[in-house]
């Protein structure tokens, strides 16, 4: 673990008293390696290490095991802060001035959007709301059936319309929600590549027409270096208000969490922790920080 490696580094330092800047650089190299191995994107690792270096120099880190522990604490605290800080508490979905409150889900292929849509629907239903699921993926074979099946299992209605382009379908769904008294609309969209201009324009258009209070980037916890590009492009081309990190029940270190949070600058609101509809939890920065540091 990083803590073992830092203790090893500090044990080998030969000077007395306060750790020198050069010694600190040796320690920081271990931090860099640990974060890269945890899948934090390189440019985010560099920013992070610079921030830690500043804090460590300011803290007048000492020799020996005490020094190693000081650096670990600085790293951990900085990581928690960069992940959004605090204990998180119950994650809240943004709301519009008036219902229905739209929650739009976007992301790469296979990241867990459809499953997450059903999880959000269950959560809202349990909170006493009336959510409407919207099947706005007309491309993937049986995508609509998938959401309908999930909706039926949860007793949540699913809006769909064959042969309606997703931006039109989304607007129809809002009208339907207003008419039938749904106060939340959860919009499941097709998986897409950030380098697919047509598909990125599609979600940008849906966003433009609906102006949803919540646009969630649904991303896989096992995502590697590409996380920075995903966060950047979805944020620039669509505009996102939050992130859901799925498949956190895997043993992926989850460094993508730091990349996504730091590049998009929006909170990670939820994590997916199983394939089931109740597998959605609030994001806790301190837990993810410990996991990333291994």
């Amino acid at each position: 673990s990083l803590s073992d490696r830092l203790q090893g580094v500090f044990a080998r330092l030969s000077s007395r008293g306060r750790v020198s800047e050069d010694d600190l650089k040796v320690a920081l190299r271990e931090v860099r390696i640990a974060l890269l191995e945890a899948d934090v994107s390189l440019r985010v690792v560099k920013q992070f290490v610079r921030a830690v270096e500043e804090k460590a120099l300011g803290a007048e880190v000492l020799q020996g095991l005490g020094g190693a522990q000081q650096v670990i604490k600085i790293v951990h605290d900085e990581l928690v802060e960069m992940l959004g800080g605090g204990d998180g508490g119950p994650a809240r979905l943004n709301t519009a001035p008036n219902p229905p409150h739209a929650v739009m889900l976007v992301g790469l292929q296979g990241s867990g959007k459809t499953t997450t849509a059903s999880k959000l629907a269950l959560m809202l239903r349990k909170q006493g709301h009336r959510p409407l699921l919207v099947a706005a993926d007309p491309y993937r074979p049986a995508a609509v059936t998938q959401l309908q099946t999930l909706g039926r299992q949860l007793d949540v209605p699913v809006y769909h319309a064959p042969d309606r382009k997703p931006p039109d379908l989304a607007q129809d769904a809002i009208k339907h929600a207003v008419r039938d008294g749904f106060n939340y609309v959860i919009l499941d969209t097709a998986g897409r590549l950030v380098i697919d201009e047509t598909m990125m324009r599609e979600v940008a258009e849906i966003r433009r027409r609906l102006d949803p209070p919540e646009v969630l980037l649904v991303a896989d916890a096992m995502t590697g270096q590409d996380a920075v590009r995903v966060a950047e492009q979805f944020h620039e081309q669509v505009g996102i208000s939050g992130v859901v990190l799925t498949k956190m029940d895997s043993d992926a270190r989850g460094g993508a969490a730091l990349s996504l949070r730091s590049v998009a600058g929006v909170p990670i609101k939820f994590v997916g922790t199983s394939e089931r509809a109740d597998g959605l939890e609030a994001f806790h920065a301190d837990r993810i920080a410990s996991r990333i540091l291994g």
Partner: protein, 278 residues
């Protein structure tokens, strides 16, 4: 990077960045660069052009050498391909693509819808079957996946089909009971006296270092004969496959390059490396 430039610290740094950002990983990046620095010191690399060629060579060789070639189909017998992997990586879509590919080559292919768990998984494969004009053997959702496999193999014999592609539910390699279920499926196939059986792991090109753990655990459960790297049409480079092939010693057989049925190609190490260091 390709333009002629001096071989200095900046160039080594840029190369390190390139490899790390491609998900090659810390250890392998260090190994590759250390070897190239050695070749440079020994005078075997003179220009940045040489350096790039040497890098291309080192990476392509790493993929070719670690794993012996493997054919999914053996002539004159029934070949079964068990497709496995974690959730959402592209197993079902890759099976549709492979099925169409083998059918084009003149094989008689049957698809087995052995993901009886996920919502609309069977529907999804059935639609692909219709599009590719391939028969799909399926039971109802919640059925025992092993019984679907058993049926598909019997059907293959009855219809003299020579290839059975088996779709399985996505599963995290950390889930003991799901990995046990997979072992049971493999035992059912083995008991059927199928002439040629392969297990193929699908790895998503956007995956980071966790792909190594995935490969290790799936290999431990059922053995692996090959890999498919999906979603290489995206911005992710899939560099983790170097660590994966080093870990489990199996060849990459195909790459997925899109969501259409024709978006699959034979794996070519030179093309893959060129796109990575591109």
């Amino acid at each position: 990077l390709v333009a002629e430039r001096p071989i200095d610290d900046d160039l080594w740094d840029d190369l390190e960045e390139l490899l790390l950002q491609a998900d090659v990983g810390v250890q392998l990046t260090d190994d590759v660069l250390e070897r190239l620095r050695g070749e440079h010191r020994a005078g075997e690399i003179q220009s940045s052009r040489d350096l790039f060629d040497a890098l291309q060579d080192a990476l392509a060789t790493a993929l070719e050498q670690v794993a012996p070639p493997h054919e999914l189909i053996r002539a004159g017998t029934l070949s079964a391909v068990l497709v496995v992997g974690v959730n959402g990586v592209g197993k079902t879509t890759s099976i549709a693509k492979l099925g169409a590919f083998f059918r084009q080559q003149g094989h008689s292919v049957i698809l087995a819808a052995a993901d009886t768990f996920r919502a609309a998984a069977i529907d999804q494969l059935k639609i692909w079957g219709e599009r590719a004009r391939l028969p799909v053997i399926a039971h109802q959702p919640g059925a025992d996946p092993s019984s679907v496999v058993f049926d598909a193999l019997s059907a293959a014999r009855a219809r003299a089909a020579d290839v059975v592609l088996i779709d399985t539910a996505g599963r995290l390699h950390t889930r003991f009971n799901l990995m046990e279920e997979l072992k049971k499926i493999r035992r059912v196939i083995d008991k059927q006296g199928v002439g040629h059986v392969s297990t193929v792991l699908v790895v998503d090109a956007t995956t980071g270092q966790n792909a190594v753990a995935q490969a290790r655990e799936f290999a431990r459960a059922t053995g692996l004969d090959g890999l498919i790297v999906s979603k290489l049409d995206g911005s992710a480079k899939g560099g983790v496959v170097f660590a994966v092939t080093r870990e489990v010693g199996v060849p990459i057989l195909f790459v997925g390059t899109g969501e259409k049925i024709e978006d699959i190609s034979d794996f070519d190490p030179d093309d893959f490396v060129q796109a990575l260091i591109g």
